[in-house]
């Protein structure tokens, strides 16, 4: 009998953008094709003018990067200020509160959230490096079909998308 095996349940795709304008264009592209933006998250470090905050805060209501619902601001020692918006925020907060993945795998809050949506260790390091280099991450996390559709819309010769299954 097979033990410890499971059908893939965590599907995500991640794309690294050099500028916030490019992320905006990618989101416009998803909107244009009626993609459900509830699956979309953005993580960015480029808020150097922010006052150093020791904890996160979260506000409710709207859904979008510049909106109020599912946005969070963290101070992560490795990155400094970190802004997240979208579906990944509850996962980040949960990871921050429980630190289960951090305890188990030695991850910080961000890496634990990545791990929880199915991103493997090797890719986590890559995305952390991208954030340290002031790049932005656009993450789509959800059912396989949603992720495949997002990947189809975002992946091109000039913009690479990586798909992670766990």
């Amino acid at each position: 009998m097979l033990q410890g095996l499971s059908y893939s349940r965590k599907n995500s795709c991640v794309s690294i953008y050099k500028t916030r304008i490019a992320v905006g264009e990618a989101i416009d592209n998803l909107k244009l094709k009626n993609f459900n933006l509830q699956h979309v998250s953005i993580i960015d470090t480029g808020f150097h003018n922010a006052v150093h905050s020791i904890d996160f805060y979260r506000t409710n209501e709207l859904i979008c990067f510049h909106g109020k619902q599912n946005t969070a601001f963290f101070w992560v020692s490795e990155f400094g200020p970190l802004v997240a918006a979208g579906a990944i925020v509850p996962i980040l907060i949960k990871g921050h509160d429980t630190s289960h993945a951090s305890d188990c795998f030695g991850f910080d809050t961000l890496a634990a959230a990545f791990f929880n949506i199915g991103i493997p260790r090797s890719s986590i390091a890559r995305y952390e490096q991208a954030l340290m280099a002031d790049q932005c991450l656009l993450i789509v996390h959800g059912e396989r079909n949603d992720v495949e559709q997002a990947c189809y819309l975002l992946h091109s010769d000039t913009q690479q998308v990586a798909v992670h299954v766990a």
Partner: protein, 250 residues
């Protein structure tokens, strides 16, 4: 993929050492890789077979077990164990029929993938790829033939010996200690080995322990190595004869 030059070069290096792509023209490999995207699957994940009707995957890092499972009994058999450079379910490149296989990631694996239709079009456009593709398919058929033959004609000890012999790393023996390292199966659990020979964990464990006592196999830091190749060949050829000899000797 070209936008990620580090990973692009890594993939190129892995694929250029695999039977499916070795000695393929550099430009051809570049052209092919430009169609692919990057994927990862976490260890233990079991993929829905429908995925392979939609995309063609090439393994870059890690190992993947391709199995068939009886849903009623839960019994399973491993049809193939794939490693870096292997294509997953290459049969889907040849026809569009649903294919009942269950791939399971043994390690965290890295892959590249392309829509299956694009892969078929690319192969049509580049018949020179068939110089590698057809022998690769031939090898897969041969492996399946070996599996069927082993299951039908040999006992578990012979099957296990033959499985181990098929996975001896080609560039050895290791000069330091005259032991023969294994590829792909070197650190597999007994249960995984059992699935590969149509047996159960307890039987495989018994054979492996026996061979370790006999000095045929050596295990160090979870890595299995062959210490006495001749004896293992003998077990692979006629295990019954050996066990009879041993009984008489004892």
């Amino acid at each position: 993929m070209k936008r990620d030059p580090g990973y692009f070069n890594h993939c190129k290096q892995v694929l250029s050492h695999s039977p499916l792509f070795e000695r393929l023209e550099d430009g051809l490999l570049d052209d092919m890789l430009s169609l692919f995207r990057r994927d990862t699957w976490r260890r233990g994940v079991q993929l829905d077979p429908i995925v392979f009707q939609e995309r063609f995957y090439l393994l870059i890092e890690g190992r993947l077990e391709v199995m068939r499972i009886n849903p009623d009994t839960g019994r399973s058999i491993t049809l193939s164990l794939l490693g870096p450079g292997d294509g997953i379910d290459v049969v889907t490149l040849l026809n569009t029929q649903p294919h009942e296989v269950t791939p399971v990631a043994i390690d965290d694996i890295s892959l590249i993938s392309v829509p299956i239709q694009d892969a078929r079009v690319w192969i049509d456009r580049h018949p020179e790829f068939n110089r590698n593709f057809l022998p690769y398919l031939g090898e897969q058929i041969r492996q399946m033939e070996d599996l069927a033959t082993d299951l039908a004609l040999h006992d578990t000890m012979t099957r296990l010996a033959r499985l181990i012999l098929r996975h001896i790393a080609p560039e050895h023996p290791d000069g330091r200690n005259d032991k023969y390292p294994l590829t792909l199966i070197n650190d597999l659990h007994d249960e995984s080995l059992a699935r590969m020979i149509g047996s159960v964990r307890q039987i495989v464990n018994r054979h492996l322990q026996y061979w370790r006592k006999q000095g045929v196999l050596h295990k160090h830091k979870f890595q299995m190595q062959v210490a006495d190749l001749e004896s293992l060949h003998a077990y692979a050829g006629d295990a019954l004869k050996h066990s009879e000899k041993n009984k008489k000797a004892s």
